[in-house]
Amino acid sequence: MHELSIAESIVRVAGDHANGRRVTKVYVKVGHLRQVVPSALAFSFELVAQGTPVEGAKLALEEVPVTARCRSCGVESRLGAFPLLCNSCGSADLRIVEGEELMVESLEMEEA
């Protein structure tokens, strides 16, 4: 259950940036390659936020699909499943452009 560790990190990052204000919403970007189960993350988040400035905050998850650029033909593909193959030439030699994100984007807080 790496969602628990990830939730702990999200709460810590949000808390660090809140400067004592109460956080009401946390926007997080999660790439599909991270294999995060959204419901498990939401559950963990609620649990570990208790007793912190983030307690009760809403977790807004934005899931990012996989985009990769082919090193053979240069075409960029949007990929929904494994194997990850170039949509144009079928090559497996791809550079991941999007889909590995795990990022706290922004917070909503109450005015101090």
């Binding site: 999200i10 940036h17 390659l33 294999q35 990850l84 984007e105 922004s106 005015e111």
Partner: protein, 225 residues
């Protein structure tokens, strides 16, 4: 009093803190001249049995050290203690029934008890789990995944995270192939689908098959002094 909401842009990677600690571990390993392997697998894939074989084979040939990650037992460490290599056990956080992976900070806490200067190759035996360990760098040079043929052919497609991040896959328990309905070619095709061309060695801790090849791989990793 009326309270208005304010929005603050953060843009901080969730794993930054772990990655920074992993880099600090990395620096220590470099200073001591260690090559570090993060060994990962499902529970019961045979990591410890394979390590026993490895320690036996490389005794006197390579200065190995082991950092053992485990959920609140010392069983695995007991099995390895008889080889008299530097060995430390890190029990993972028992908070919610035990963490399912080692992170950089847990590894750091174990390093103080290892004589790093006397080690060529440090093997970090991660907690048995097919998803979580892959997410956390601990300062390793290479990731070695142990996969048992009893786990079926489909796991690389269902749990690509770890398979994608492996530098070497030890396909273990191949002595059981004759008794199993396991299609090795299909498994290897699935492996290549998520990690094209990744190195692989077929092993059996029971018969010793592939252990020489795996040990040679390890010996080739010894840092030049």
């Amino acid at each position: 009093m009326h309270r208005t909401a304010v929005k603050k842009v953060v843009m901080e990677s969730v794993l930054d803190a772990n990655d920074a600690l992993a880099q600090a571990n990395r620096d220590r390993f470099d200073t001591a001249g260690n090559y570090v392997i993060n060994m990962m697998s499902s529970p019961g894939a045979g990591k410890t049995a394979l390590l026993e074989r490895t320690l036996e084979k490389l005794r006197g040939k390579l200065r190995l050290g082991v950092l053992e990650g485990d959920v609140q037992t010392t069983l695995d460490a007991d099995r390895l203690a008889r080889f008299h290599v530097p060995l430390v056990q890190v029990n993972t956080d028992p908070g919610f029934g035990g963490e399912c992976h080692l992170d950089a900070n847990m590894v750091r806490s174990g390093l103080t008890e290892l004589p790093l200067d006397d080690i060529d190759v440090l093997v970090i035996e991660n907690v048995g789990n097919l998803v979580c360990p892959a997410e956390f760098k601990v300062g390793e040079d290479a990731r070695v995944m142990v996969y048992s043929v009893t786990e079926g052919e489909e796991k690389p497609l269902k749990y690509p995270l770890m398979f994608r991040s492996a530098d070497l896959v030890l396909v273990n328990k191949v002595d059981l192939l004759q008794h199993l309905d396991f299609d090795l070619d299909l498994f290897l095709a699935n492996l290549d689908a998520v990690n094209p061309g990744v190195e692989r060695i077929l092993t059996s801790a029971r018969t010793g098959k592939g252990v020489d090849e795996w040990c040679s791989w390890l010996q080739s990793r010894k840092p030049l002094s």
